[in-house]
Symmetry: C2
């Protein structure tokens, strides 16, 4: 230990320190997440932040693991990755205990995740993410429910319908359009999908031009499909395909659930190739920051990568960085308050009395902090004020003798002389 | 994605999967931790699990970082470590914002930590740990308070005074004994301390012998000190040293606080060399598993390693693996219950009615899950039963018509016919 060292005071690049006021916001976000999904009966699970790299290679390929994750070799020669997402882990866990679990499962988790990328607004190297998944229900009712949990969370945060929009599509439908309706080759389908993924970020003319380069004479037919905004207006052959019917049914269910800001968007494809049915994305409608906040979809074949029987799944995930940005933009973050309701200060030689009073009040359910310093009373009170603690009192000779304390509200500067029981009633 | 792959279903070596029933226990432990420390006004903070390796090297040396932690080089050439403990991080955070923080600070965190070691009972590679710290109070009142939070947590878990013991010592006192009372060289002091650390794990005779090898003619004098069990019986010169007086005062304060199972133990030294005053360890008194559960102490010079002015600190930490073992041994873990109070099953074609009812009940504050499968009602009810959900009801034609539902308690098999409002009252 040397005081000469120039140790960095900063957190590691792309990560955050959570001082109590930041942790308060974080806890608020987590508590809203938990409250809403538990309303639907989702159960929390968890797992280690370290997984063997093989798990991600199987899903995403070697290149992505090497370039976009924190991957290293442990001293036992195992390749290990700090998880970049939770889905492979939950699929592994479901596969492992599939014989002992009671399907259908409603599961959620709030994992800490790392990606190796250049830090930028809304995309740090580290974040936390709510993951909501249902396993073992094939019907679109499950898809509608998971979308509904996402909607309810946005509402629980105080977002209004006009702040965001739920854009829904279906991968089965998309596959039908590409392979059957347009009879594209696999290569064309792949390139066209990638382009569609960028549709909302491009101007109409360059988009059409790029599409024509991929699809030539078929591009106009595809662009026509992509212009459809209402499921009912889809070409009957498309609408009657299995994917078309699924999409129609989900849109009806969402409407019946009272979700008014859900709409069909043929441009929602989502990058991951494991989606097999419904896909959705929630968009921020702020014109200055119109972007996808989060999303999810159905992935019926994912658990199968472990070589076990098929277990269907559908779900979504929402990151803390993105949602915090959103809540800040719309001024929806709660005001800070500490967990403690009363700060007890003391005159000389009355610290023990202060501690005794605090102990009594705590045993009655109050959260109470005692100033343990020998500073002047005014400095002690100032600490309480700066820390947003709502009430303060000072213990001195008079108070010990009478058992009555002047309890001051630091918010409105009122003062009441109260005994122990009255303090409990007041501060609670 | 190939179903032929033989992906492992196991978590990474030395880590745990938390299926919902394990996560329930984990959440229970965390909630007790939070509840008690917040009673004393401690504020939660957090930080990233990754830190630059330099942070640990400064405190523990290169060898320990290389051999006992997960350390690797990122693509930017930075050496990064998955944190093995939280203290260096909190010291860094306090040093960083020292000009803006309102001292004294009461802070806590529940970080996820990794050590690179052979997994064994009570010592996995990964664990979670409650960290409780106070910064900026030099007096022993702060030491007494942090010990008191540890005691209260044990009691909140349901532990009795006879299950555990708080063993207290003081590093300043120990230094006085070694350097002044015995006038040892630094090398002798170091060796003797290391041996004392093992005292409770050794038989008396080999311990005395080993001590004699280190201290020769001075060993008897030291062994005499180590046999003292009561602070008052210490040699007056030792008792009157600064460390002796601190120890005496803390023992008195703990007694005044009603903590009966705290005692002086000269063998408590704790490995970390950053402790400067009070040190303590909580021992499991189970004769079959007598061992240190957790501990802490005062570290007044730690924040100084960042080259800033002195900021005193005192605190302790408790791991989830150890405390879970302890609670299991004494049968103190709570019985599992899910967050959901009611499971709604449905007859053919009444899924939408079931969803509507669930939505109504949720809006009234109930946590309700709906079975979305098309299985027979008996299979639906069985799922609720296996998942320990307390109440179940079935929606069919009759129920939709009358608005009355047969609500069955799965615990005692009683059944009541209730309308919506009565359901809310019953299930809440």
């Amino acid at each position: 230990m040397t005081s000469k060292s120039k140790l960095s005071l900063e957190p590691y690049k792309g990560t955050r320190d959570f001082y109590p006021r930041d942790q308060f916001i974080q806890n608020y976000i987590f508590s809203v997440w938990k409250k809403v999904v538990e309303k639907y009966g989702y159960l929390e699970y968890g797992a280690s932040i370290l997984e063997e790299s093989e798990l991600y290679r199987a899903k995403s390929g070697d290149e992505i693991v090497k370039e976009q994750t924190y991957t290293f070799t442990d001293r036992g020669g195992r390749e290990v990755t700090i998880r970049p997402e939770m889905t492979p882990t939950v699929a592994r866990m479901v596969a492992q205990k599939r014989r002992h679990l009671n399907f259908p499962l409603r599961w959620y988790s709030i994992p800490n995740l790392f990606r190796y990328e250049r830090p930028q607004r809304g995309r740090l190297r580290e974040h936390w993410q709510l993951n909501v998944d249902m396993f073992g229900v094939e019907g679109v009712e499950a898809d509608a429910e998971v979308i509904s949990t996402a909607y309810d969370i946005m509402k629980a945060f105080g977002a209004k319908d006009e702040h965001f929009e739920i854009r829904v599509n279906n991968r089965r439908l998309m596959n039908y359009i590409l392979a059957e309706h347009l009879s594209l080759t696999e290569e064309q389908s792949h390139k066209a999908s990638k382009l569609v993924d960028k549709m909302h970020k491009m101007e109409a003319v360059p988009f059409s031009k790029a599409m024509q380069e991929i699809l030539a004479e078929k591009s106009e037919m595809f662009l026509k499909v992509l212009r459809v905004k209402d499921v009912g207006s889809l070409d009957p052959s498309i609408l009657n395909s299995a994917g078309g019917q699924e999409l129609k049914l989900i849109m009806e269910k969402l409407k019946a659930m009272g979700i008014k800001n859900a709409l069909y968007d043929p441009a929602v494809v989502r990058g991951f190739d494991y989606y097999t049915g419904m896909v959705f994305e929630v968009y921020d409608l702020n014109p200055k920051n119109n972007r996808s906040l989060f999303g999810g979809g159905r992935y019926d074949d994912l658990v199968g990568i472990f070589g076990v029987e098929k277990i269907t799944g559908t779900g979504w995930a929402m990151g803390d960085v993105t949602i915090r940005d959103f809540l800040e933009t719309y001024n929806l973050l709660p005001e800070y308050y500490p967990p403690v309701g009363l700060y007890i200060c003391h005159l000389n030689n009355h610290l023990e009395d202060a501690n005794q009073l605090a102990s009594d009040l705590r045993s009655q359910g109050l959260n109470v902090a005692v100033d343990l310093t020998d500073r002047k009373v005014s400095a002690q009170v100032k600490t309480a004020d700066k820390e947003n603690i709502p009430y303060v009192l000072v213990v001195g000779e008079e108070e010990v003798k009478t058992g009555k304390y002047k309890v001051k509200s630091l918010k409105n500067s009122t003062e009441h002389t109260l005994d122990k029981n009255e303090i409990i009633a007041q501060v609670k």
